[in-house]
Amino acid sequence: MGVGGASNLTEQVAAIIDRYPGGVKMVDSIEFLVAWARANSMWPLIYGTACCAMEMMAAGSSRHDWARFGVEVARATPRQADLIVLAGTIVEKMGKNLITLYEQMPAPKYVIAMGSCAISGGPFYYDAYSVIKGGDRLIPVDVYVPGCPPRPEALLYGIMELQEKIKKEGRRNPWKIGDILTTPFIDTHTKAKKDWVILEQKKDQEQQAARKQFKLDNPDFKPAKAVRLKKEKFEAIKPETREPQGISNLVLLQKIQLQFPKISVSPQEDILDLTVPRNNYTDLIQFLKQNDELGLDLLLQLSAIDWKDHFDILVHLLSTRDGHKLFLRCRVDKEDPEIDTISNIFRGAEWHEREVYDLFGIRFRNHPDMRRIFLNKDFPGHPLRKDFEDPERVIKRPY
């Protein structure tokens, strides 16, 4: 039967049957039956990257229940799936996996792009360096369900639309792998915007005659006046001040300066923000961790800021016992940025340091596993640097 994914043999058999009286009807009815079966039995692949996956799960929950359409047999392996719902953002690193998943599915296979990320990159269309601007740049998409995220009802409607599409398939309109846009990062929005303006103009021209006719028919018609909403007024309120938790900043500073006299302070109201010299960096953190009196036992985060001429390494510590926090900054030069690791003191720093290495390009001496954490090995540059530019991947915000 000419229904998608048919081998030559079935095509030939169908051609032979066609020649006999009633043969065409017979082949047609088998085609109808197969298309009906395919439309009503779409097994989705368990695939969801981000927020939309939650709404996809909600579509399977008791209230929305996509089982009514026979979709509840969610398969974890692509070999048994017919439908892949692109729920969530697709990033560059996931791209090749998605293509593999699609290729592993047996034909005929269908794709629903759910949510604005899978349609166009959504909120991450501009400035994001890793987001692929739409699933249809990697694999062919059959149905687009807009929304951020779409409601489960919208996904169910998308499934019903896909069913309608499948039911039309047959010898004359066989299933085939659709077209894809070859460049994952190209800007389509600007062109679409131009097309949209032209389309609007066309529509206006087409409707002009109708408008004139309407005015002739209803001479008394007056369009409703826009009503201005009453603007509520709110007063500005001063916030209540709350006592900072734990050991006071003054005591903290005194204790630290007793040990490390060279440390200076950048004033902050409730958090102590210290600027640490490079040579004291690891020693100080070691001291803070081991000092029971200060009790700074939890590493909140380790991050960096790019100040254009130099980097600042930020280390945020917290005391789970008393609740006070301590922020440290350490300057790192722009040329050959390198600093000692603290992953031997706080083991959680290991991933934070890898993140800083990945996004800022600051290396950490003696780090046990200095690899990129988020981006592909061959990603050019370090995106959180202020001078990062990659016209191939990043679409600049036009405003």
């Binding site: 692949l45 969801g48 990257t49 981000a50 927020c51 996956a53 939650m54 709404e55 799960m57 909600a58 929950s61 008791s62 209230r63 974890a76 692509p78 969530g88 953002t89 560059e92 690193k93 791209g95 996996n97 293509i99 998943l101 909120p123 501009y126 400035d127 994001a128 360096y129 890793s130 987001v131 951020c148 995220p149 990062f185 709110f234 500005a236 309120i237 916030p239 938790q245 909140l300 985060q301 991050s303 800021i305 930020l314 945020h316 789970t320 609740g323 926090k325 083991r347 959680g348 991933w351 996004l359 046990p368 690899r371 990129r372 988020f374 981006l375 592909n376 090995k377 061959d378 995106p383």
Partner: protein, 391 residues
């Protein structure tokens, strides 16, 4: 874009996947092999990828690979105005998007010296607690499903939808709320808000009992979770864990209690802590947290005040030069928002300290020595959200 496979390792030819040289502590026996789990795998809750070193079914090492949904959120935030960035926080940990909004707004309020009226604070607390319950319900359902009890998934979602309805009535969104603003929220609560919360409280009391009957009390479930993935207090602190993962190991740190924000210090609630930090502790703790959230809601419903719901707001905010930090307790743990401002309408740098990132870091410590199936249990009770990990 490079679409060639990058992690092509062949153990037969002596190849070892990335990151494994250091985790290999066992001597190389002939039974040893590597197994790739994810990024598309039902129990990695999205697109986390794990590479396991196994001996038969026993786990010798785990290396998580992140970045399969790294969207460069922090870079995008640098190019948007402060108010535009609120919606980005929704997409961090989408299961506690209200709480993420709150964290970001609090950092801005701190910078601009904005206060919130009484009613606004009540709205914030109530919504955040509803969000916590909602997130835990989803977690409960999904972790039950990971252990093979598929019905829990549906039961969790059943009650979750009620809370989603409240959110939908409030702000029109079911998942990505974008509701809070500096100085309150963008809209007042609707008339149905309090009655609906009362209904949720009533239903949650019954539902929690039902959950305990269905899953907690089940002997198979207890066998699967008890003494699995034991996390010591020292390790948890050293890795910077937070939330239920930290508390299950015996450290009583809840931002709501130890560093109160909004008006959490006016409500009575307990911070449950675990004893040994195994999967069962983490599980029970989350169930108990739901009960405590219901307790907060009960108190808030009774004293819900009238009055303005927000203070004066502006269309464009310019934060004075400096750096601002706020922390909130999301359903997953401690979310820190760090904003560096240079005076303009856009932030110079925004850094989110996401709870899942630190919580997942301990996976290798927990998994080694257990069976393959226990990885799933451990992942389920660590309760991470992948976009929160990757940002």
């Amino acid at each position: 874009m490079n679409l060639e496979p990058v992690n092509n390792f062949n153990p037969d030819e002596g190849g070892i996947p990335e990151g494994f040289s250091r985790t290999s502590s066992a001597t190389k026996s002939s039974e040893e092999y590597f197994l790739n789990m994810g990024p598309q795998h039902p129990s990695t809750h999205g697109v986390l990828r794990l590479v396991l070193r196994l001996d038969g079914e026993s786990v010798l090492g785990v290396v998580p690979h992140l970045g399969y949904v790294h969207r460069g959120l922090e870079k995008v935030a640098e190019n948007q105005t402060y108010l535009q960035n609120i919606h980005l926080t929704d997409r961090l940990d989408y299961l506690s998007s209200h709480i993420n909004n709150l964290g970001y707004c609090m950092a801005m309020e701190q910078a601009l010296d904005i206060g919130i009226p009484e009613r606004g604070e009540y709205i914030r607390v109530m919504i955040c607690e509803l969000q916590r319950i909602q997130s835990h319900l989803l977690w409960w359902g999904v972790s039950g499903m990971d252990l093979g009890a598929i019905t829990t998934f549906l039961y969790g979602f059943k009650e979750r939808e009620l809370i989603t309805d409240i959110f939908e009535e409030l702000c029109g969104a079911r998942l990505t709320m974008n509701f809070f603003r500096p100085g309150g929220s963008f809209a007042d609560v609707t008339d149905g808000f309090i009655p609906r919360i009362k209904q949720v409280i009533e239903i949650m009391h019954k539902a929690l009992d039902e959950y305990n009957t269905l899953l907690t009390g089940n002997i198979i479930f207890q066998e699967r979770t008890k003494n699995i993935g034991i996390l010591s207090k020292e390790t948890a602190l050293s890795y910077g864990c937070s939330g239920a993962v930290l508390r299950a190991s015996g450290v009583s740190y809840d931002v709501r209690k130890n560093d109160p924000y909004s008006i959490y210090d006016r409500f009575e609630f307990d911070v449950p802590i675990g004893s040994i930090g195994d999967c069962f502790d983490r599980y029970c703790l989350k169930i108990e947290e739901m009960a405590q959230s219901v307790r907060i809601l009960e108190q808030a419903v009774q004293t819900f005040p009238e009055g303005p719901y927000r203070s004066q707001q502006k269309a464009v905010y310019k934060l004075p030069k400096g750096s601002y930090y706020s922390q909130v307790e999301t359903a997953r743990g401690l979310l820190g928002t760090y904003i560096v401002a240079e005076g303009g309408p856009k932030p110079y740098r925004v850094k989110f300290r996401s709870p899942s990132f630190s919580n997942l870091n301990i996976l290798n410590e927990l998994a080694v020595g257990h069976k393959l199936a226990d990885i799933v249990t451990i992942l389920a009770t660590l309760d991470f959200v992948v976009p929160d990990l990757d940002r």
